[in-house]
């Protein structure tokens, strides 16, 4: 194992997004504050509570999860595509680094960004409302787990994509709709029966509800199911991302 190589690439990945924090950290915070202020405080007059939880508090775990997974995905995907397009990829592919080490560094980079964004929005949520976190360690652990899974997805997308347009298509047409349909702003019990059934096929539904359980103690899905799906996604997508890197079909000739 090339530990120095692995840590160097990981630090580069983390350093990269911190160096442009105005693009990678601040926007998620601003949009989440706006969601809490506009959606939360205004809609709370009409939807006073869901499962006994004030509406503003109800949406905070969903906002955390939406930012966590979108940041985790976009970090590894955009970094990989950027390295491809800027001609930096040979620097790491020609170095004595294994596909496993390269993948791991990218995934950790995305995981850190997802976690940083998720935790910051959690703190904003606590600051803007009287929310108390039921299981703080489980909350942070779950944010990290989901960040890892979606950072792996990002690494797969980054390897597959050949242009920014392709990457944006994959994110805008799949990730964002699935996030919104996963129950950020509502409980699926409020949906018609067919839509409830459809939600069970949306993995992000389990992520949002798993986090909601660790923060608020309520969840549409069984918390164990959410945790197991998060674990399966983490392992499954990590393996696919590493195999794709090893195969090198989209990054080598």
């Amino acid at each position: 194992m090339n530990w120095v190589g692995l840590s160097t690439l990981t630090f580069r990945e983390v350093g990269r997004f911190f160096s442009v924090y105005r693009q990678t950290v601040i926007p998620g915070l601003i949009s989440s504050i706006l969601y809490i202020l506009i959606f939360g405080f205004t809609l709370e007059r009409r939807i006073s509570s869901i499962d006994g939880i004030p509406y503003t508090l109800f949406i905070i775990p969903g906002l955390i999860m939406m930012n966590t997974l979108s940041n985790a995905t976009s970090n590894s995907s955009s970094s990989m595509l950027q390295m491809k397009l800027l001609g930096q990829l040979p620097d790491i592919l020609q170095a004595p680094l294994s596909s496993f080490e390269i993948s791991l560094a990218y995934i950790i980079g995305g995981m850190v960004r997802g976690t940083v964004n998720g935790v910051l929005i959690l703190l904003v949520g606590v600051g803007l409302s009287d929310m108390t976190v039921a299981q703080p360690l489980a909350t942070i652990g779950f944010i990290m787990l989901v960040s890892w899974a979606f950072s792996s997805i990002g690494l797969i997308l980054g390897q597959m994509a050949e242009s920014w347009d392709q990457l944006a298509t994959m994110q805008n047409f799949f990730l964002t709709p699935l996030s919104f349909l996963g129950g950020i702003f509502y409980s699926i019990k409020m949906l018609p029966e067919w839509a409830q059934g459809a939600s069970f096929f949306n993995p992000i539904y389990y992520m949002i509800n798993g986090l909601r359980y660790t923060i608020l103690g309520v969840s549409d899905s069984n918390p164990s199911t959410s945790f197991i799906i998060a674990i399966i996604m983490t392992i499954g997508f990590s393996v696919v991302a590493i195999m794709l890197m090893e195969n090198g079909k989209k990054i080598k000739q």
Partner: protein
């Protein structure tokens, strides 16, 4: 001499396009080796296979007797590559990029510091150490590319068109630096369009065309084989017995215009002039011609290197 790079029967196709048709190259440890060929001849493909960027279809590729795939950690650590394409980066200053590069090769920052400082100084980039790549001129970017290849102090340096697009002054400075590195014991594999560059720097060159090595040898032996070197002397006296006087030389006499075929025109010229003047000849004009690798290349491929 140990073998630094061994390539045998290397083949590569990109779909229906045959890039390499069975390349054979052997480069000794400490050798300065040039790979010459026009665009699309297979130079960069050969290098990219050697460094793990392109997968070969067939053939043996070894570095210091180790296979580049099964022993990739060892073989990649031995090689530094200055690629033809200039790297870009938006995020980090030059020195951090060099520390990163060293890190990928397993060298921590504290151990790389001396080498990074030395390379930035030696390549005239010290004042730019905190600048971003986009702030550098083309020549500076080219020098950074070379610094990046050397930061882990590799035994083998691969220079893919290292002076492409740089001005004459910098080209000469870089040649001097490459000579120093070679004297210091590095094995250098150079690909270039500038035949003069290969002629001046390389111990040995291979001419590659359409995916195959068509000639290999020292620049001198290749130019000698081309047979275009010689001496032209015009004399006004036509009644001299040249056959007796110049019996040691191969020459033609066309109405007082003597053409000598020789691989060493500089060495033979004074001898011939001595013989002719001692025999009372009046010499009107003297000219030496020396064939270059360019001539060799032309005669072998039937086309120029920049096609």
């Amino acid at each position: 001499m140990n073998t630094a790079i061994e390539i045998q029967n290397l083949k590569k196709n990109y779909g229906d396009t045959v890039a390499l048709k069975g390349v054979n190259i052997s480069i000794g440890d400490g050798e300065f080796f040039g790979l010459l060929g026009p665009n699309g001849a297979g130079k960069t493909t050969t290098i990219n296979i050697l460094t793990g960027l392109v997968r070969k279809d067939e053939g043996i590729t070894k570095i210091f007797d180790k296979d580049i795939i099964s022993d990739y950690r060892f073989t990649r650590a031995q090689v530094g590559i200055s690629a033809q394409e200039l790297t870009q980066d938006w995020f980090f200053p030059l020195d951090r990029l060099l520390y990163f590069q060293a890190g990928y090769y397993g060298i921590p920052k504290e151990k790389a510091k001396e080498q990074v400082d030395d390379l930035l100084y030696r390549l005239g980039l010290e004042e730019k150490r905190n600048s971003r790549l986009r702030q550098l001129s083309g020549g500076m970017k080219r020098r950074f590319q070379i610094a990046k290849a050397l930061v882990h102090d590799p035994k083998i340096l691969i220079l893919d068109e290292p002076t492409a697009g740089v001005d004459v002054e910098l080209r000469h400075e870089l040649w001097e630096y490459f000579r120093e590195l070679h004297k210091g014991g590095k094995t250098i594999l150079l690909t270039t369009h500038y035949i003069e560059e290969a002629e001046m720097l390389c111990d040995k060159v291979a001419i590659i065309d359409e995916g195959k090595v068509i000639k290999e040898g020292s620049p001198k032996s290749l130019t000698n084989q081309s047979g275009k070197s010689g001496i032209n002397i015009n004399i006004s006296d036509k009644d001299i017995d040249f056959d007796r006087l110049l019996s040691d030389f191969t020459y033609t006499n066309n109405d007082g215009r003597l053409h000598f075929t020789t691989q060493e025109p500089e060495e033979n010229l004074p001898i011939i002039i001595n013989l002719l003047t001692n025999a009372g000849c009046h010499i009107q004009r003297v000219e030496t011609t020396k064939s270059s690798l360019e001539d060799v290349f032309l005669s072998l491929t039937g086309k120029g290197i920049n096609v």
